[in-house]
Amino acid sequence: MSEETIRAILRDIAEEAVPVDLTDKAMSGAVRRRAILLGTGAAAVVALALGVTPLALASINPPQNGAPARPTSASTGPGPSTSPAPSQSWPGPGQSQPAPGQSFRAPGPSTSPVPTAGHSEQAPGPSTSPVPTAGHSEQAPGPSTSPVPIPGHSEKAH
């Protein structure tokens, strides 16, 4: 079968094709294609934003693990933020220590020269008491610690 024969036959077969006007279909198809591409692109951008945004926020606002925990009233041991009442911090003569499980409440209006913030369960500030605190390693005195225990002073802060 010669190449010239094939060429002639292919030309004959091609003459069977019927030309059809496809202009309108092509142009409307192009518009639809562009709309589909734009919609797909927008959806991809939205999906990417939804996937990336939580990760970005997590990296900007890391979980605050350094903040000291607030002790609860049921805590058995004194936490680092526990502020013992000055009247009961140092068990003086004749005074009993608080029972385990009891929390110390901060005193009311501060009697110390250092003004207090007020709340009983807040983290204690730097000690202002001239009394050595070596015996109470777990209890940091609060800012309202009085250097001299006041017998009969109310324990309630507020």
């Binding site: 079968m1 024969t5 094939i6 077969i13 069977e16 094709a17 496809l22 279909k25 092509a26």
Partner: protein, 174 residues
């Protein structure tokens, strides 16, 4: 596209549709698939007409048709033309009769794979060199040659009456 580009596109399609349709018909094998193939190519051309109209839009349309014809997606979605049953026995067509010859070759053409058919159309209908055919089909020259040889062998297997014209009086091999 603006108004001027639309007008240019209409003129281009009106002028070149007959030639493009013939090529699409040879590639697709029937009128319906040929219209589908050409419409897809023209749709893509229309989307990019503003950027290609100053170069060669017809070459772009043809390239899209050739690539579309052999794309795996098109093969997956369109109806296959491969026969499920062997061809029925029929009297051997008389190659001397042009009509019979065209029918036989047309059937043989439909038996080819899309790649083989595309290679034949590009080589013998478009009369393109092997290098250009390889560029259009995004393959190597060796692939073009091998596909051409396979297409010709399949042609002879499907239509043995299309034997070499130099050999006369020989029996038809079945």
């Amino acid at each position: 596209m603006n108004g001027e580009e639309r007008q240019k596109f209409r003129e281009f399609v009106a002028a070149r549709t007959p030639a493009l349709m013939r090529t699409a018909y040879l590639l697709a094998g029937n009128q319906h698939d040929a219209e589908d193939l050409l419409q897809n190519a023209l749709t893509r051309t229309a989307a990019r007409f503003s950027s290609i109209r100053h170069t060669d839009p017809e070459a772009y349309v043809r390239r899209v048709m050739y690539r579309e014809q052999i794309s795996w997606w098109r093969r997956f979605t369109r109806r296959r033309e491969s026969p499920t049953h062997p061809m029925p026995d029929r009297p051997a067509a008389d190659p001397s009769t042009g009509t019979d010859l065209r029918v036989v070759v047309g059937e043989a053409l439909r038996q080819l794979t899309p790649r083989q058919r595309t290679v034949l159309v590009l080589r013998y209908f478009e009369d393109l060199p092997e290098q250009q055919v390889a560029e259009l089909m995004n393959c190597s020259v060796g692939t073009v040659r091998s596909q051409t040889a396979r297409a010709m062998a399949r042609f002879r297997a499907v239509a043995p009456e299309l034997g070499a014209p130099a050999r006369q009086g020989t029996e038809v091999r079945r």
